[in-house]
């Protein structure tokens, strides 16, 4: 490759990287500046961090919001992993004509926009008196067809010999799933768990509809409502955004391999 091309290659990637990272730097600096400084585009660290953090505590109940988000994300991730892996396992290892039809229907349902089901869902939960409950946030998200698809794809790598050996040893089909399949598919569970957690943690539209009282609000809802003020307190909001983004950034850096594996699961 000519020298010119090489320079161009590095320059292009450097610019793309800077553009990608800049909003993160902006967020960190922003948390240390006042709203006025942020609106005027100040790109230097300031001294307002403690003040912003204190104001955040006065404006919203951040502990409650964090605990709501965490409860919802953890419970729905665990349920989703169990339900989707059972289904992926069943569809792959017990193939039958009718199951394939059900499976195709599940895959097609991935194309259904959430907007097309949110009104009946809202009415359904209203009828059950479940509006403003954490259960209502969790229930519609735990049969995510993408996850079933992901587990089925990965089950193709599950060793048949292992399955046969377990049957010979006298384990029943559910014991095989519980004692053999789950431990051998750890990395698949990790990858799927990360995606499930992030999806739930960052969810906005459905919680916005179904959660109504302040005591039930999640981090995303709190951040969104802070920023919709006529004069948004951006310094305070940046602190909240950092708190909300920290778990996902940590997961990304600590478990990058599983993270990417989970994302790519769909194109194997």
């Amino acid at each position: 490759m000519t020298k010119f091309k090489k320079v161009f290659q590095y320059a292009f990637l450097t610019i793309a990287s800077i553009v990608s990272i800049f909003p993160f730097i902006w967020m960190i600096f922003g948390a240390t500046n006042s709203a006025t400084d942020i609106i005027q585009g100040k790109l230097l660290p300031g001294k307002e961090f403690l003040n912003n953090a204190k104001m955040l505590g006065e404006m919203v109940n951040i502990k409650v919001a964090l605990s709501n988000s965490a409860q919802i994300a953890i419970i729905s991730t665990l349920l989703l992993l169990l339900i989707a892996s059972l289904a992926g396992y069943g569809f792959e290892l017990y193939k039958s004509k009718y199951k394939e039809k059900v499976y195709t229907a599940l895959l097609l349902s991935m194309m259904i926009p959430f907007a097309a089901i949110m009104i009946p869902l809202f009415r359904m939960f209203a009828k059950f008196g479940l509006i403003d409950s954490l259960a209502a946030v969790i229930l519609p998200t735990i049969a995510m067809p993408f996850m079933i698809f992901f587990f089925r794809q990965n089950t193709k790598t599950f060793s048949v010999e292992l399955l046969q050996a377990a049957r010979v040893d006298g384990l029943n089909e559910f014991q095989i799933f519980w004692y053999i399949y789950i431990p051998t598919m750890k990395s698949t569970y990790a990858a799927a768990g990360i995606i499930a957690f992030m999806t739930s943690w960052n969810n906005f539209l459905w919680p916005l509809i179904i959660l109504q009282s302040e005591a039930r609000k999640t981090m995303t809802l709190v951040i969104s409502s802070l920023s919709s003020a006529y004069f948004p307190e951006y310094g305070v909001i940046m602190v909240a955004i950092i708190i909300a983004t920290l778990p996902t950034i940590l997961i990304f850096f600590l478990l990058q391999k599983s993270f990417v594996e989970g994302m790519l699961g769909s194109v194997k």
Binding site: S17, F114, A115, A116, P120, F122, I142, L163, N202
Partner: protein, 301 residues
Amino acid sequence: MGKFKRNTLDKSKGITGWNFVVIATALAAIFTLYPVINSLVLSTMSGKGVVYEYVGLGNIKRLFSDLVFRTALKNTFIYFIFQVPIMLTLALIIASVLNDKKLKFKGLFRTAIFLPCVTSLVAYSILFKSMFGADGIVNSTLLAINLIAEPISWLRDPLWSKVTVILAITWRWTGYNMIFYLAGLQNINPNIYEAAEIDGASKVRQFFTITVPLLKPIILFTSIMSTIGTLQLFDEVVNLTGGGASTPSLNATITLSQYIYDLSFKFVPNFGYAATVSYVIVFFIAILAIIQFKMAGDKND
């Protein structure tokens, strides 16, 4: 048929198999299938609040004279037509530039460009809102390097606010799509590129004659996923521009999903009409998916 052969189904195994899939299937039936059918039924009804009457195709008729609907449909398509191709092309270019064995700091570049994916849609929309204000960092930078003569009204002008939404989405999702392309590129035998190099094919030519055709299935996948995502756009417009630009009544950035939300939960609820609008999205996703499959299929088989 051996007893232990994989996928062999005697009768009891058949029922066991159903036991594994029954929870997921039941949940999908209750929380997806039933609502979809219910939406269709609702779309033939109209009313405010709790009183509903059957109107047949009345709601569809109403769509044609509804100016806000037209604006939302137009906006959604503008986002789709400009944003998806720009983002996918950019992702593909970055992936091919990154896919170079001799490249230094490859992991660093890849991580940096992928990083936007960890932010929630709400969080990054607000970050962009704070950067694109009238006196904000974007305007002051562009002014300082003399790219613009006066500040651009990124969040309020009907045209520029759409540009801001497109820029923001592109920032968030380009790295995501790039990862898919990188994974695809790793499966292409490097000898093909070496052979092309020896034959004197330029990098640009290699891109169009090797990379694009070989990645077609992944490009198809990403474009369908992006289509579904863009047609459902909600979080970004609500948090970035509030759907409104200078006044909410202008609806300069409103999308179909946002209009459905407004019809159902912001105004006096008209669930029937909102359901009709939601079926417009279903309709377009289906049509566009079929078109994309056809386009990819023609040259693939």
